[in-house]
Amino acid sequence: MSSTISNMPVLNIKREAELDKNFAKTIAKLAHGEQIYGCIQCGNCSSTCPLSPYMDYTPRKIIAMVKAGFREEVLTNKTIWLCASCYSCTVECPKGIKITDVMYALKREAIQNKIYPKRFTIPAMSKAFYDTVKSTGRSNEVALLMRYYMRTNIFSALSYVGVGLKLLKTGRLAIIEKQMKRKQDFKKMLKDSEN
């Protein structure tokens, strides 16, 4: 017992120098609003969130940590990736904080800085979706899932074979997607916005 105590990691202390003082400002800008400064920590977001039971930190804590500048903790945890964009927190927030937009902003910030949890599946899905649309202009579930499983775990795709076959049988799987006509225009616009 005594040996474990001597090996205990430092968990619950933070020094001001370790915080990113501009973090709140950056996120407020990316997330369409200064409202995050008005957070009263009521926890309505955490409570209404259908995914909060699975999160590392509840959404309320994320907002507090963003405000205080806990950049690393916020960007590396799974909470932001579990947000399913159901907007329940956003419509119910008594202070009008666009929490879903905050989560989006944090996701983008994490991707840009390449510090999201590496083996985590959700960022991979987002990227797969992005790439599918970028190349075809529309999303195609077959192409999307192919891309996704290539990136994560190709074997896990097997567990969905049953569902896939049923979809195929009922004509709900579009293997050949009708293509856009002005695809070149579309790509050009996207290229511009990535710069």
Binding site: L82, A84, S88
Partner: protein, 287 residues
């Protein structure tokens, strides 16, 4: 009544029967839908996570197309998929409110010779049916009232959130009213707008399946015969994973899950095939 119609990717694949049934029902009721030519993906939720500017540009191209094809004045653009509806509506609203964003998006449209003036009104078929067409008229069109059918309405998240353009954000009632108009019993339940997890059924399936398990279990506890939805992804999640969920939790959660126009179509006396009902995994016995 004539509207421009934005199907979105899902209504061409897994949600095919949503499109089929809606087109059939609207045609029957005399509501004309004209598909938007050369539309592209709405941007959906995943896109925003990578590049918001790009997502909004992609979406605004659809709005610009609607203005190109919809003539002068205000243009009603119907988007049945919740994610598409929300994506289009959110983009439109944000463009209205944020000058910087507007400038940069308009510039991108300009680079491909398009423009957007802000004349598009984004509409959901529920909104059209209740507010433009009217429940009274719908009632008169009912041929086979759905007697003794207990219906729970599942709205999903993105139809009344984050921007509530119609109905109530936490307690929507439009689908319930439609069900009652068709002669069915609308069963009230507390999970109308409780999220199904979206793509989580594929990404973190433990979580995704549990969310859907809770929804299905509660529908069954409330003695529902059928669940109606207004979103292709909700419908997909709730219906297509029922076997998986039943196995995982060791209790049967099987219950038919259909799109609300399919329910309307049955009450109007339309053909099952026209409504795409043969595509459902769980056949509604009653219908």
């Amino acid at each position: 009544m004539k509207y421009l119609y934005y199907p979105g990717c899902s209504l061409k694949s897994s949600g095919k029967s949503y499109e089929e049934s809606m087109l059939a029902v609207f045609k029957h009721l005399g509501i004309e839908l004209q598909e938007l030519n050369d539309w592209n993906c709405c941007g959906a939720t995943n896109y925003m996570a990578i590049n918001e500017q790009s997502a909004m540009s992609v979406t605004s191209r659809n709005l610009a197309l609607a203005e190109e094809q919809g003539g002068s004045g205000e243009i009603n653009l119907v988007a049945p998929c919740n994610a598409c509806y929300m994506g289009l509506l959110k983009t439109k609203t944000y463009l209205e409110n944020e000058q910087g964003l507007r400038d940069s998006v308009l510039q991108k449209l300009d680079s491909i010779g398009m423009k957007y003036e802000g004349r598009v009104k984004v509409r959901h078929p529920l909104d059209i049916l209740v507010n433009d067409f009217g429940l009274d008229k719908l009632k008169m069109a009912v041929k086979k009232p759905l007697k003794d059918l207990n219906v729970v309405s599942y709205y999903g998240c993105q139809v009344v959130r984050p921007i509530t353009a119609f109905d109530d954000a936490s307690d929507p009632v439009y689908m319930d009213q439609i069900a009652m108009t068709l002669g069915a019993t609308a069963v009230d339940w507390g999970m109308k707008v409780r999220c199904c997890g979206g793509s989580m059924t594929s990404t973190v399936s433990d979580v995704g399946l549990r969310l859907n398990y809770l929804l299905l279990k509660e529908a069954k506890r409330k003695k529902a015969d059928i669940i109606i939805t207004a979103c292709p992804l909700c419908q997909f999640n709730l219906e297509c994973f029922q076997d998986k969920i039943s196995r995982k939790y060791g209790e049967s959660v099987n219950i038919p899950v259909v799109f609300f126009p399919q329910l309307i179509g049955m009450a109007l006396g339309l053909d099952k095939k026209e409504l795409g009902l043969q595509r459902m995994f769980v056949q509604p016995q009653y219908l």
